[in-house]
Symmetry: C3
């Protein structure tokens, strides 16, 4: 994951344009991707697909010709979606177009202006202080023209049509945690799931933020209710503990599963209620869709100074944290896969487990706990309690409860309930 | 309000009689009142309107003719509803008819005997100790005869028929906090609301305690369900923090509104669950009516020593506290007026606020919070969440949420829901 | 109760056999019992009634003929349900059949092998250490043959068919707390209830654990829903505080009643959520039946070292604790009997209690509290709140609330609701 991030880092992404296409082409070498191009001007829900933006070069030169600010060194230097400019202008005029972070004088901020046409440069406060000449040459060699918005899906069919949605945004240029960490974890989660027998179908979305999610929802309005569980993945490679932001529903299965697993890990983490701002959960959880989609992150957006600055770089994300994030995602999907609801087929009194070889067996595991897990599954499998409900109520590990269910299913003592 | 209390203070009120009429005549100079006279003997729910009581004079004289206890000095001296008496009697006999407060030897208690015919005097323990003669002359020049019970309504029609009920009792003689403070705040709240465009209709009741509320309910049994929110106001002029006693329903809108506003004020206050004793909420919240009526007070009845004594006088209530109580009542009615429930008309994805001039506008207020408030209103306006629900959930001020709703309504993005 | 336990203590009980019959014969001298014999091989729910086990003698002799381990001294010495054996064998072989408690070297463990045919001896670790000879003579003079399972019911009809079930197990040999304490308290509770006018019908079950409860349920599958409240009684004679384990329903009336009474006693106690292991609640609370049956114990099973050992003897149970347990059981049944739900017949406004002599009466009790209790009962008797609900909500004693209800019922102000 870390070397994938390294490959993706230099690309200048935006909500449209070739940076997005290059990014998806690299991901397509890892997992099967279907890429969609949606023409500028297409109506998508309440929005319109904008013109496509592309950029080749940008700089501020002093009159000796030296590049003081150079897009080739860092693509954050350009206000993302800047209109083209090519002029010599007084410093006073140029200053109206400059963005810095006075509190972090060595960092370059990340700024965008998608829906109002402007141009600008982002630079470090130190660079700005060094601008002492009267006039400078500025150039942004960009185009904003009819074209298309690009997004991709990786679809892994399962034995049922109900879907798990994993979504990450792909519209940020050289920012590692906010955008590339989510892309990398999602990609490797897809690689992992591709090798398994799947009950659920999985749909991974690689979309530009906001407009991409809206575009996908517009094109899949009838299909959306198939999404039974979902996660937005981003800012998941840094050293903070996990933060889970609940879906708008608040107690959807995905919320219960992630909170259960975070509790079980007994590491510091935080759980946030849904709010209608943040990432693409804003769209998935809009009241018309109200999909059960939560957000899994480490540092919560906007709460660390590196957020949306050049300090969100290859040092800010760590291979070990990426690995732990992927592990948690695997546990989440595994729990979703196994969390079924059963009905006890012998609900009057306890079934006699001994005559079925299911009592005080002496396998590798503590036989007492195995027996107790079976009694829990039998007693609460009345069609209303899922295995996760039973694990939470019994304070026994989910995997032990699943093993018990499997043994009882094998003995014909359980039948899967339809209602879950 | 304080000078109105000063005017009302000397009048000898009871549950019937001319004291009530004089009181309502004074209130009628402030607000439009409709006065009702209900004849003695009228059946009202399970009760009967009693005989009317009037009193002209009362005293205990020593045999030298000096008035030891004098109704003209303080109308609390007479057991309220005393039958007439005119006799010279031994001190031993008189003592059967005397009420004092040994713990507060300078204070006169307030006592009544409405439904069992008796006579008696209330006096300070000090006065009682001074009674050393063998015989005294006692006189109560009262009448208890067929007449009527008097109460009044101030009705302020609104644009809908749903009503807000504000009730206060008017049956206590010279007691300032218990009775006059509620009367004064209710009167000035009515004056204020009379000047506004009202959505709800407001009905202010000035009724004798218990029998008056029962009489109104008996005469308005079919009408009562129009009451959607209600408050009993009393003991609201002293220096204690606010106490709100919930309606029997416990989580009616009035309960949520008052509790929300008290929390927002961040002053010490207390919230009490409904109990079936207290003031006229006993009647409004009887199970047959079960109206959403709470009680707003400062010192909770019976919890301060001044309660029902001559110490509940013009010093015990304060202009500043009366003013703050009126302010809170205005906030309550304003919140009720504005707390509507809307349905987002563009519920699939976020509507694009920028193209409607509703995003990052740079008005006088913090534009970020304004944007965030709009997102909250849009996301939760699905017909189930009221603006107060959204304010509580978002931890944003109710007024900011209302402004957001107004802006979105203006842009056609909301429609008012019927169901609230 | 303590002397009944003394009489029952020496009998060698098991899940079938003459020990059970002797036990029930002794109980039959105290209360009316109907005894049932269910033949071996009968299918009962998922189980089969096993062969009947009887035992006359058992010992381990050294070759001099001295009884080292002697069933006549303590019936725990035999692995309960042992198959017969009569042999001289090397110590090494015998050791495969010995059970001890190394942590409590003077105690004999209690062990069973009902459903897998084996033989064995239970002995103290000290006895085991003393076995130094090369060979020993072992004899278990038992029979395992077709016969029947024995259980009994004591049925006390009430004025309604709804039943209260009290169940205790009768299958443990010389163990006092685990089995005999429950039997004794249940027997004396039945004696007490037999002398009262009963609203509910009461059914006391004296059954062998697991298979006995399953047998009763199998034979009463249609009848079971008549059980509206139930308790399993066991380990209720020792010095620990009470432990109540909730029914599977978790907030059944029986749960609320027992928890209320335990709280009111203000002695240390503990409340446990339902778990699907323990005593016969496992069967009554299996999902097909889901009866409202809780478990009342003192030391919770398995949590004290004396559990299932020879230390659970006549010293471990105490007359005083047995008495307090019986008192609590009487309070439970009394509360169940009195906990009805009423509907106020004068629900509009407060009824005028004074004209009915129900206000400020001056009986022996605090008249204020009496009045307040009446107002609580009137206000909340809308068919949804039971008297226990009202007691909990008002923080007034249940008995005071019941007295209020009785007075109001006498005045025609209440009618019993059907729905409870």
């Amino acid at each position: 994951m870390y070397s994938l991030i390294g490959e993706l880092y230099p690309i200048c992404r935006s909500i449209t344009g070739d940076g997005t296409r290059q990014t998806l082409a690299l991901l397509g070498q890892e997992i099967p991707l279907q890429v969609f191009e949606i023409p500028s001007g297409t109506q998508v829900l309440d929005w319109t697909v904008p013109k496509e933006w592309n950029i080749r070069d940008a700089y501020i030169k002093d009159l000796s010709g030296a590049r003081i600010v150079d897009f080739q060194k860092c693509n954050l230097h350009v206000l993302n979606y800047s209109t083209p400019v090519n002029a010599v202008m007084p410093l006073a005029d140029l200053e109206q177009h400059l963005y810095t972070l006075p509190d972090h004088p060595a960092w370059i901020p990340y700024r965008t202006s998608y829906y109002s046409e402007k141009w600008g440069f982002c630079l470090s406060e130190e660079q700005r202080q060094s601008l002492q000449d009267e006039r400078y040459e500025v150039c942004i060699d960009s185009t904003l023209a009819d074209g298309s918005l690009t997004y991709a899906e990786c679809f892994l069919p399962g034995s049922i049509e109900d879907e798990v949605l994993i979504s990450c945004h792909i519209c940020h240029p050289s920012l590692c945690n906010d955008n590339l960490s989510g892309i990398a974890v999602a990609t490797f989660l897809a690689k992992h799931l591709a090798t398994l027998n799947r009950r659920y179908s999985y749909r991974f979305l690689f979309v530009p933020g906001t407009i991409g999610a809206i575009t996908w929802l517009a094109r899949n309005k009838e299909h959306a209710p198939k999404v039974k569980h979902g996660l937005v993945l981003t800012t998941i490679g840094d050293c903070s503990g996990f933060t889970y932001k609940r879906s708008r529903q608040g107690n959807a299965d995905i919320d219960r599963v992630v909170e259960y697993l975070l509790r079980e890990r007994s590491e510091a983490h935080s759980i946030e209620d849904f709010t209608p701002y943040g990432y693409d959960e804003r769209q998935y959880c809009s009241p018309g869709f109200n999909l059960p989609v939560g957000v899994l992150t480490r540092s919560f957006y906007g709460r660390v100074p590196e957020y949306h600055t050049s300090a969100d770089n290859l040092d800010f994300v760590k291979p070990q944290q990426l690995g732990a994030s992927l592990d948690l995602c695997r546990q989440i999907t595994s729990t979703i896969e196994h969390n079924r609801t059963y009905t006890n087929q012998s609900p009057y009194g306890e079934p006699q487990l001994g005559k079925r070889g299911l009592y005080r067996s002496t396998g590798g595991r503590d036989p007492e706990l195995e027996n107790i897990a079976r009694l829990w599954v039998l007693n609460f499998s009345d069609g209303r309690y899922s295995l996760l409900d039973i694990a939470e109520r019994s304070h026994l590990p989910f995997t032990l409860i699943c093993d018990a269910a499997e043994a009882l299913l094998g003995a014909g003592l359980l039948r899967e309930s339809n209602c879950h």
